[in-house]
Amino acid sequence: MKKYIFIIDDDPISIIILKKNLELIAISQEIETFSNGKDAFNYLEKEYHKNEKYVIFLDINMPEMNGWEFLSKVEPFITSQNTTIYLLTSSINKADMEKATQFPLIKKYLSKPICKEVLIEIKEKNKL
């Protein structure tokens, strides 16, 4: 069973920070990055397999297709059995946090900046 790590975020600096942090805690898996929800959706629509494992870090505010739209699009064919989505956003807006609870695919709402401790926890939980 292959394990994928996706980062879906339009902010390159934010991606660099997350990647460097993942390096720091020695995550060996390959990391795929997408700059908006649409690219990630197109990829998953073709390549998604039920017997593989996905850990996705998803931003909310993105051009083309934002995080919410992405979630609605993938919900019909993705299950939380093999896919764990972490909403990683700079937003601390209550409305966003409440909205996140409406999506069962979202494992956790994480506010940027991400810290190493949280990533270590994620690594252990998902056996990365």
């Binding site: 902010d11 600096i13 660099i16 920070i17 460097k20 807006n93 940027k112």
Partner: protein, 319 residues
């Protein structure tokens, strides 16, 4: 014989001294202490400086040397105001006595028929009746004022034709029309009355009304049935709520802007800020202070943060 002990202040305007003394005599028979003021000419009466406030009744001879007839009655009534005027006349002027009543005199007495009983009855009767007339006039005035001076614009329309019968001052002010310009005009001038049920007296209805300059206003109106000069009419009370609505819309638009700003704060401003925090953490943890790449990104994020703050400041300024 019963003598009235009440105090009466009586004015007699009579040029014939014989007639005056007779009158005085008759009055004294029925009244214990009448105060009688006597004028022989209209000019004397007009020029008197004494207040008429305490006066109870005026007896007026219809033909005085300096004024007589219609003119005399009208002038005296103008001065007497709230005091009853009883005209005195001879047989020959009987028809004019009736005219004097039509002009507003309270009663007439034919000189040849006067005796103490008739005179006393006329005096008491007219004083009491006039008190009631004044009360009615005052209440009429009060109701007229309630309509005319009401701060709420009011229309009265004919319930058959929907033509305007009356409007008050507040109505003139709000709609910019003079009263004369609206009387006998259809209420359609103000609003489209098709499909309006004037029998609905319970509900407050929101309507679009037009002013004289064709500006439209939003009003809340209420209808009621009244009887106006013996005819069935509808009273329309209008309440201009245009400003309230504009105010509400302004607040709603500001709320939208505030929500936009909250969103920008949360997403656009916090994005570079979280990057800065994340980069500093990385620099600390890797001890790579000289990492040009991280420092470059740090610099980028700081510039971005500044731009977002400027954007917010501009948005707030435009509110």
């Amino acid at each position: 014989m019963i003598v009235d002990e009440k105090k009466y202040n009586i004015i007699v305007i009579e040029d014939n001294l014989g007639d005056f003394f007779l009158l005085e005599e008759y009055l004294s028979e029925k009244i214990k202490l009448p105060t009688i003021k006597h004028f022989e000419r209209f000019s004397e009466f007009k020029q008197t400086n004494e207040s008429l406030d305490n006066c109870d009744i005026i007896f007026l001879d219809l033909s005085l040397p300096d004024k007589s007839g219609t003119e005399l009655v009208e002038e005296v009534l103008k001065i007497s105001n709230k005091i009853p005027v009883v005209v005195l006349t001879g047989y020959s002027d009987f028809s004019f006595a009736l005219k004097a009543i039509a002009l507003g005199a309270s009663d007439y007495l034919l000189k040849d028929e006067i005796n103490s009983a008739i005179l006393y009855k006329s005096l008491v009767y007219n004083i009491e009746r006039f008190k009631n007339i004044i009360k009615i006039k005052e209440s009429e005035q009060l109701y007229n004022d309630l309509f005319q001076l009401s701060p709420q614009p009011i229309f009265v329309i004919d319930s058959d034709t929907n033509f305007i019968i009356d409007i008050n001052k507040a109505c003139e002010e709000l709609y910019g029309f003079k009263k004369e310009e609206l009387i006998n005009e259809p209420i359609r001038t103000i609003f489209n009355e098709n499909a309006i049920d004037f029998n609905n007296h319970e509900t407050i209805i929101t309507q679009k009304h037009f002013k004289k300059n064709r500006d439209s206003i939003i009003t809340e109106v209420k209808y009621n049935k009244i009887v106006h000069n013996g005819k069935e009419a509808i009273i329309i009370v209008s309440n201009d709520i245009t400003k309230n609505i504009e105010h509400l819309e302004e607040i709603e638009s500001q709320n939208t802007k505030l929500r936009d700003i909250a969103w920008i704060q949360s997403h656009v401003v916090r994005a570079p800020l979280t990057n800065i925090l994340g980069l500093i953490k990385l620099i600390n943890e890797t001890e790579s202070v000289k990492d040009k790449e991280l420092l470059f990104h740090l610099n980028q994020s700081v510039i971005e943060l500044e731009n977002s703050i400027n954007e917010i400041v501009n948005k707030t300024h435009n509110m």
